[in-house]
Amino acid sequence: MEESSSSMCNFSVLESMNEKSIGEMEDSWNAFCLATEALHGGDGDLSFASDFVAHVRVLCSLGLESLIVEHFLCSMEETFEKNGASKFWKHFDAYTNPAVLEMDDADQQQELQDVLHRALEELSSEKQYQEKCLLMLVHALDMCRQSKSKEQTYSDAERNHLFSKYQLTVFSVLMASLPRHFPDVLHCYFKGRLEELSAMMATNCENENGLQENDGMDLDYKGREMDIDETHHQIANLGNNKLIRNIGVVVRDLRNLGFTSMAEDAYASAIFLLLKAKVHELAGDEFRFSILESIKGWIQAVPLQFLHALLAYLGDSKSNEIPASGQKSPLASHPSSRYYRTGTPPEGLVRWQLRLEYFAYETLQDLRIAKLFEIIVDYPDSSPAVEDLKQCLEYTGQHSKLVDSFIAALKYRLLTAGASTTDILHQYVSTIKALRTIDPAGVFLEAVGEPIREYLRGRKDTIKCIVTMLTDGAGGNPSGPGNTGDSLLEELNRDEENQENSSLDDDVNTDDKQTWINAQNWEPDPVEADPLKGGRHRRKVDILGMIVGIIGSKDQLVNEYRVMLAEKLLNKSDYDIDSEIRTLELLKIHFGESSMQKCEIMLNDLIDSKRTNTNIKATIKQQSQPVPDIGDEGLSLADLNATIISSNFWPPIQDEPLNIPGAVDQLLSDYANKFNEIKTPRKLLWKKNLGTVKLELQFEDRTLQFSVTPLHASIISQFQDQTSWTSKDLAAAVGVPVDILNRRIYFWINKGILAESVQDSGDHKFTLVDVLVEDGRTGVNNGGCEELLARDEDGESSVASVEDQLRKEMTVYEKFITGMLTNFGSMALDRIHNTLKMFCIGDPPYDKSLQQLQSFLGGLVAEERLELRDGMYFLKK
């Protein structure tokens, strides 16, 4: 009875004692205190253990058990604080300065390692000794209970309680005196060890796998599904690894001290840091290889191996750790030794793997997104990087990050006045291709593409560039570095090839027929379509559709193409239009038969011209063999090839009046007559300013050959009879305005054929340079030199450009807009658009989009002809 209630009623016990027993008790207590002190201060000398036990027994019998325990613990805490903790922390005094930790040299590392090992060892042995003392106390208590009554023993629960109390005391003492830099010390330690391990693994792998051609870090032969058996096998190699054991000891010691979460934090952060460094090292600026697998392999090979070994070691080692649930960090994968012993893959390890992989994905994704612009610039070459990014995004789902960052990069780097339209278009095409890979649904492409499209709509030469890219494949500016690799022509071809390949009969001979069928079957792709559906019918990327989307309607594109085609065809002298036919067929597939009809007629004109031309020449040969050559320069109809066009279907053609030399004129009308004979009632009307003249200039000392425009030819032929002309006279003779003559004649001056001098009257005088003056400027070689067409030099074009046509159309619209605003005061954009649609139905009818109208009105506002207030347009008064 007394014993059981002793803890509560010590004083009542005291009251019931007599003088003698109090004195006895006092003696015993003092002796106990001394023994305790001796025990704690002792160096493992347990010689007075029996004394201690005797004292405890006496006191216990007096019912002072709880007091004994209290005192014992208190004294232990004091000792631990004095001997253990303060000594322990003193070891790390050298590292108070964080700069010391950041030093990266091996000696420093080694020293840190040694210090930590030593300190932990010391502290642990201190703790072990104290635990031994505690155990002794427990034994003593146990014994005196047993002596009292057989049934009552010191229960396990009580003993555990005592030990956990002690554990808590140790931890609180340590925590209370924890220096600020200790976590850093731990972090630094783990980082150093992991790096060491990583290097060791690398060499291991190199030894194991002689085929590794890379720097030994490339571990991509290890798939993600590397099974645990293999890991076990690796562990076997590592099991005795001193390094791992050392780390294991450190972790275990730290755990025993109650630093579980701190240790875990330290090695987790070290692992993540190392992983991040690894990702950065592998990824870098290299986009040509996929690195995701290597990273995964590395995760398997280094951090997971490390963790596995660590868990295995901790699990095997007899750990008397008491689960301190309070200190368990949420990050911690608590080494559940139970799992491990049963042989199932430790759950903690799987969780670690997932965490590490997610972290790796995220790091790589951030890295790739930051460099996405460069990746896309390199696109087809950088597709492995794009694939990586795609996988990362699938895992992390942070697509919006990509969109925001990429749009910012685009705006800053691409959509600037300095970038050429062609480059922007190329980048756009690459972006489409790359993003389609990442995001088949096209949602993000839509978001990213919008700023580009918006910007391109504001550029005047966008359509022209697109058409040039479509047809030439050499980019918009012929002088620039043509990026033929991803031209749109390629795209056209590829699309067609794809379709041919996927068609049922791959007969090469049915090329044209196939094209027909494809043309009729072509349909725009739905945005939501899944490209992964079906391997064989894998969807092609509808880049052309996206490009056309920039402009809004295919009609404009077709129009521009028509102008460009006309220009090209008119400059041809050999009727060779094979490549044009091919391009047209490809375009027909995409834009439909009907919209390309005019272009087809233009090409047919060329084919007909060739036939007609041959016919006419044949009749001449038959009929007029005896007839002497026309003209005294030896010109004959054989030298004349005509391109006969159905001008209704061609874009408006510039018509400049031009007087051509009589003999040539005669030749032309003869040709026209022949044409009339063959094709009655049709008549040929010449566009004398168009075409190409091949001519040869014979001087006393040299002969030069040129291919020039008729105007150039006319100019130079005037010098045949008269070697010196004033610009005014020459202009009259050639039949062009003086300013045009002055511009065009520079061609001959630059060639060194003519010389220019300014007369007193201010009139320019041109003289034929008969003898070549070696002034080095002319750069004309003796003998024949074939010159390229001079037409493009001065940017003159024989066909009215689309812009000119558009401007003309827009003047009509402007008049209508002025008319309606005069009468209705103010109108909103929509209403102007609708009104134009309803009433402006002349030729050509109003067919612009709302955006086009808006930009046109914007132009009028900028010219201060209109005013825009609150969304309403007014006439500027």
Partner: protein
Amino acid sequence: MATVNNNGPNQDSNPNTNTVASAKQTIPVAKTVDTQSVLKRLQSELMALMMSGDAGISAFPEEDNIFCWKGTISGSKDTVFEGTEYKLSLSFPSDYPFKAPKVKFETTCFHPNVDLHGNICLDILQDKWSSAYDVRTILLSVQSLLGEPNTSSPLNNQAAALWGNQEEYRKMVEKLYKPIA
């Protein structure tokens, strides 16, 4: 032309009732063709007017009805109406151009030949109408009427009386001028 004559009695009603009325007479097809040609005529007049670029006159069909136009004329230089701008409404009959359009001033106009409701007394809009006239000539005529009124048969007697005193008249015009915002 024959269609127009057939519909003579109905010519003042709008084209829709006209069609209904004539449905019994089995000439609806001819009627639509006729409306079509009126539309075409008005359409080309609009185009011509827009392209002519005459200063001070303008007109445009209302939003959804090409038979109803809004017009604008400004007072010619060196007349008492200089610097003012008048809105007109023009409504075309379904047998235009064989009948003259109805032209009214929407803005109050103090003029001998314009009454307080904006009705205009102008011979070419009444008995002297010819199908050779078009919107442009109507507008030009109204514009010149402003400067050269016919005071012998006035609709607004006060204006006709005051016409002699151009200075006073100008003051009156300025006082009564209320442009439509």
